[in-house]
């Protein structure tokens, strides 16, 4: 079950044993916590005094996830969106362009030789 990699080895069994040991440690530590359930006001989310919205509205939708990351890379994403036009003519142009670059990179040095 041990896979030899270039720099060492990978053994899933060792990993699983390590995972189980870590899980047991966490589980034991958890046992030291408060066992008594605290109901009432303490379990409600605190949104600066605002009433809790309905369950459906609480869910953070996919479009909002990683907003900060994409906002920080706005310049890059604007460029990428311009590149991905969705127009088939542009797809073909990219192909022709890459083929032309490959011609220059692969064939030109051989011709010059």
């Amino acid at each position: 079950m041990t896979l030899d990699t270039y720099g060492g080895y990978w053994s899933p069994i060792v990993w699983i044993i390590a995972f189980v040991v870590a899980f047991l440690i966490v589980y034991i530590l958890r046992g030291f916590g408060e066992r008594k359930y605290k109901g009432g006001e303490q379990t409600k989310p605190f949104i600066s005094g605002t009433e809790e919205p309905s369950k459906g509205e609480v869910h953070v939708r996919g479009g909002n996830v990683y907003w900060g990351f994409t906002e920080a890379l706005k310049g890059y994403y604007n460029l990428m969106k311009k590149m991905h036009t969705g127009i088939i003519n542009d797809y073909v142009l990219w192909f022709i362009g890459i083929a032309a670059i490959l011609f220059v990179v692969i064939i030109l040095p051989e011709v010059i030789k």
Partner: protein, 525 residues
Amino acid sequence: MNEIITHAPILIIAIPLFAAFLTPLIDRVSKKGRDAVVFISVVLTLILVFILANDVFETGLRIYNMGGDYVNFALPSGYHVPIRIILEVDGMSVFMGIISILISLVGLIYSFSHIKGDGAGKYYTLFLLMLVGMLGMEMTGDLFNLFVFLEILSISSAALIAFYARKGKPLEASIKYIVISSLAALFVLFAIGLLYGEYNLLNMGAIANEIRGDAGALPFVTMVAFVLFLASFALKAGAAPMHMWLPDAYGEAPGAISMVLVAATQASLYALLRVCFTIYSATLDTAVIGGILIILGLASIFIGVTMALIQIDMKRLIGYAAVAEIGYILLAVGVGFFELAKGEISEYSMKALQGGIFHIFNDVLDIGLLFLVAGAVIYVTKESNLNKLGGLAHSMKYSTIFFIIGLFAVSGLPPLNGFASKILIYESVYKVSPLISIIAILASILMLAIFVKIFHSVFMGPKLPEYADCKEAPKLMLCSMAILAAIMIFFGLFPDFVITNIVDPAVNALVKNLSYIDAIIRGGV
């Protein structure tokens, strides 16, 4: 048994082809009969692929001369070059064959759950033709034959992408796919024409032998043909920046077809590897070609993951992740090819190739499973927009578990299969440049972030009122997901078994290409 093994290369193509033509006829009589014929033909093909694979892994490559008096002889008496279509099956061919047939069987089981009714006969005919295209590309030793199977694969795939639609995005995606595929096929045909004009040959082994003889003074047209092959197959494999068609096609196809399309893309990648390693490796500057593959791989990884991050359509997002996964394969193969220039391949190049070839299988499994779960979600909710989905873990418990397995695997988290191939790639690529290795690892972390986004958007959160009545996906869908998940877990826990028994023969077939050429030139196996 010997007879079966002897004729297995052609039967692997002939059985699904025959069933494809039989399906519409039986469809008119009995729907259950149609399903039975399709299923039995795929299972029979699967058995034959495994029998052939076992033989090839044990005894070496096998050829099949179509129409010849003796199918194992490449050259008729008195001839110096092969004149007939010859199927040539080595470790790499059967490795790809196993992927194609396995994924097709899983896709078929998945399709049975919801592809029913009058139009289903056409669906299964096209499905079988797609399988024929993939297996044909992987088994043939003839370049023109490769082009024919590439066309069969492209046409059937294009029809299946828009199978459910009469208008709108699926049709647009299908048109884009067929335009891109036709363009690539035209360039491939042009390249084949150039080689035929130069050498009067179509057999890959025979052409490779001629090209070896040209070492040091490769004719101009032979180099032009190589560039055309490289560009076309890279386009069909979805390498960035020629990847734009891929999320369109994957995103709009039915769930099972998206998964089989991943295997179809890998068939084009196989053709690229065959051209690079078998036909041209002896004469080209492999350091330059390896460098090009590494650059294409890095671009695919980076553009794939970053573009996936901003998608709000679930299947398009997975499509972009598939581009990144192709990048990992190209990166590893590029590192392997890079070293061929030195004549003797080093240990880290072999490890890179092992990782790359292993990742071909893992990519199909991981991305395939995610597409199946996405298909199930769309089937149940009729929605693929991440901004509208949520809370499905309440009603789709098994699908959620399968998605988590796919998420872990595709992100390269231990102990699943994705990690096993990626660690081979990271460590061997590090030897070429630590920076490339770091980019690859960071991209994997981003990949995890991307799929956590889907997981959170689709499955987590409270049960939404609009999906209150949603139920778990049909059992056959879950069954096909379970098959993939089981294979992934097995590959993750026993990576050495997979590498030794399946991957190494494929890698050796690529690196030690002389046996592929000799089998033709010496007249047979």
